[in-house]
């Protein structure tokens, strides 16, 4: 009986890190978008900070989309 503890350990570590990172990124993206919406609705806030929030949000979503694409690549490969 030969248990591959190293593989199990890396599954543990990678799963933990990737899940937390992805969920964190996605949450930041969602918050960025909702902040931008409230700012646009109330008319307050400078144009610069709204644009920054939106760009940041899209960057977060782009990273998440890349992770999904990598996931599909892993399934196909």
């Amino acid at each position: 009986m030969n248990i591959d503890w190293a593989a199990l350990g890396s599954v543990f570590g990678v799963s933990l890190a990737v899940t937390v990172a992805l969920v964190g990124l996605f949450t930041l993206g969602i918050i960025g978008l909702s902040k931008q919406e409230t700012a646009a609705a109330s008319g307050s806030g400078s144009g610069g900070s709204v644009a920054l929030a939106r760009t940041g949000a899209y960057a977060c979503f782009a990273l998440c989309a890349a992770a999904v694409a990598y996931g599909i690549y892993l399934i196909v490969a």
Binding site: F12, S15, G24, T27, I31, T38, V68, I72
Partner: protein
């Protein structure tokens, strides 16, 4: 397709039936949280999952070369043993569906195969160490890994988002959840449909129709993909209900964290060389997400019943598999009796399930009326 004997034909049909039960048993893994948080309507969710399962079945060309991955010595495995193993796996899948408990279809298949192989060739045909490394340790590790990841992710997302309006963000979380659920469905199609292709191919090889090492014919790939997709579309609503509502109450944030954790664990484990069960990862992730929210609860009575079912999967499917092999060993009439018993058993379970039917219309209700 020439020279297919009656027994071989029965095995192929039974393998496809197993594939079908595998589909509706495991719909919950991808779609239970998606349905319970309202990200997708029940029917839409199972339709999406079915399509992705079908696509997944065609995606990868690497078909499982063994049924059990080394748990059972498959050299010289008789066709009837494969049949007996499938009978055990199907009946256990149906029984756990009746009581609405998520359990691993692969473990049911391993159990059936172990039971049938022991009855046919004795204990020496079982590789005990592989049972520990491929079944026991993953069964313990999967819910822990996925649960811990989901708990931390849930905490994090509530913490980062504590100052935002939950209504404004719910839509975003739901979209993210659909993406993770899609990945789980796709991965399920590639893994599990291929298991059935592997079984049918192995049966064709043992029956002398294909040469050893041959690739599965196109009709095998198509029928396996279609069977799992149909099963998925039927929707194992009883299990979806347990996973989506029975274990804990999920908000969109939690559903997203749970599904992302499940998808990550499944993909990471299968590509880092330590395969973890999809069902156990998903159940663990749901419980972890339940624990991660402040004031969130996990219904431990339901969880305990589920753990018991996991523990029973291997021995129970094994006993049925052994019994089925005892009958099929007796000759053609034994195979006929086993097939008749399988059909009768499935019919009884189906009739019992009608007493308190769970369908796409009431899957997220608070109470299920008993009629």
């Amino acid at each position: 397709m020439e020279h297919i004997t009656l027994l071989l034909g029965i095995v192929i049909v039974t393998a496809l039936v197993f594939d079908f039960t595998n589909g509706f048993h495991d719909t919950a893994n991808a779609m239970a949280t998606t349905i319970s948080t309202g990200a997708l309507k029940p029917k839409t969710a199972v339709a999406m999952s079915a399509v992705l399962n079908l696509v997944g079945a065609f995606l990868s060309v690497e078909v499982a070369k063994t049924i059990s991955g080394g748990i059972v010595n498959e050299d010289g495995l008789k066709t009837e043993v494969i049949f007996a193993a499938l009978v055990g796996a199907i009946l256990w899948n149906l029984l756990t569906w009746l009581v609405g408990l998520p359990s691993s279809s692969s473990h049911a298949l391993f159990g059936g195969l172990i039971g049938a192989a022991v009855m046919s060739m004795g204990w020496s045909s079982i590789n005990g160490g592989t049972v520990v490394t491929k079944v026991l340790i993953p069964a313990l590790a999967a819910p822990l890994v996925a649960g811990l990841a989901a708990t931390l992710a849930t905490r994090l997302t509530y913490r980062i988002g504590r100052n935002t309006d939950t209504k404004a963000t719910a839509k975003g979380y739901r979209a993210g959840q659909i993406a993770s659920a899609g990945l789980v469905s796709l991965a399920h199609g590639t893994n599990d449909a291929q298991k059935t292709m592997g079984i049918i191919t192995l049966a064709l090889v043992t029956g002398g129709v294909l040469n050893p090492g041959a690739n599965p014919p196109m009709w095998v790939i198509v029928s396996a993909g279609v069977a799992i997709a149909l099963g998925t579309y039927l929707g194992g609503w009883r299990i979806i209900r347990t996973m989506g509502r029975g274990l804990t109450d999920l908000q969109p944030q939690q559903g997203f964290a749970a599904q992302t954790s499940a998808a990550t664990v499944i993909l990471a484990s299968s590509h880092l060389g330590f395969s973890l069960s999809t069902t156990q990862s998903c159940s663990g992730a749901v419980m972890g997400a339940g624990l991660g929210r402040k004031g969130g609860v996990v219904r431990w009575s339901t969880a305990t019943r589920m753990f018991v079912a996991w523990g029973l999967t291997l021995p129970a499917a094994g006993l049925v598999g052994a019994g089925a092999e005892f009958l099929t060993k007796q000759g053609p009439w034994g195979v006929a009796v086993t097939a008749a018993l399988l059909i009768a058993g499935s019919a009884v379970i189906w009739v019992l399930s009608r007493r308190n039917a769970v369908t796409h219309t009431n899957v997220t209700d608070d109470e299920i009326a008993t009629t």
